[in-house]
């Protein structure tokens, strides 16, 4: 059974490498965010499979916490890239730096 765990961990690692390649070459910011989100989900799966591979299934709690952080981080980056600010919905005018 440990061979199956190792095969699944290898497949997830290959997928993480592919997502990292898309994050590096991605032409738009949204491609990079998408690759980052997929990378985080694959990290959750990798932590779960590695826990079984090393005989410690309690690493699942770490996987759950990592999934939470990944979701919040993705939404934060999206909000920042959409509104230009994390605090309010109003996009600052271009000359706002002059008054600051």
């Amino acid at each position: 059974m440990s061979y199956v765990y190792a095969a699944a961990a290898s497949a997830i690692l290959i997928t993480m490498l592919l997502a990292m390649g898309r994050a590096i070459v991605g032409p738009t910011t949204y491609d990079r965010i998408l690759a980052l989100n997929a990378f985080g989900t694959k990290t959750v799966l990798l932590i779960a499979v590695m826990g079984y591979l090393f005989g410690r299934p309690e690493w699942l709690d770490l996987a759950l916490v990592y999934g939470l952080c990944n979701f919040v981080g993705t939404l934060a980056v999206l909000r920042f890239s959409k509104y230009g600010s994390l605090a309010n919905d109003v996009t600052l005018p271009p000359d706002a730096e002059d008054h600051a």
């Binding site: 095969a7 989900t41 959750v44 959409k82």
Partner: protein, 136 residues
């Protein structure tokens, strides 16, 4: 003993299926041509890949750990759908185009007239025409 072996076989089949979908989604994430198709590939890895791996692990677990795995799976399903929706909505609002169509949704305000017309037969750039110069 025999039941344990059967459960291990079922779990191995689920794990290898989930690994297959993970790799397919990763290849699609690299090779598909536009942003929205790449979102589809990432969705495959988030739904089918995560489901296969986590359900496969749940078949070889004690009931408490299986419950944790199902919790992780439910969380991944909810959050991946939500974050992909937010991502596509943000990209669409900022003018990332769909394949060769210059503008699909006319609720977005049109670009400034000096940006020029886009020939639909030209290969797409990933940014919209009205974003190519103004984001610098």
């Amino acid at each position: 003993m025999t039941l344990e072996l059967v459960l291990q076989c079922i779990g191995a089949v689920f794990l290898l299926g989930g690994s297959f979908f993970c790799i397919v989604g990763g290849i699609g994430l690299v090779r598909l041509p536009t942003f929205y198709t790449r979102c589809h590939a990432a969705g495959v890895t988030d739904s089918a890949g995560a489901a296969g791996v986590l359900v496969g692990l749940a078949f070889v677990s004690t009931p408490l750990v299986a419950f944790k795995l199902v919790t992780v799976l439910a969380f991944v399903w909810l959050t991946s759908v939500a974050s992909t929706h937010a991502l596509v909505k943000a990209a669409h609002a900022r003018g990332v185009r769909v394949m060769n169509t210059p503008r699909l949704d006319w609720t977005i305000p049109p670009p400034a007239p000096d940006d020029g017309e886009v020939d639909p037969s030209t290969p797409p750039s990933d940014l919209g025409p009205h974003l190519s110069g103004e984001e610098a």
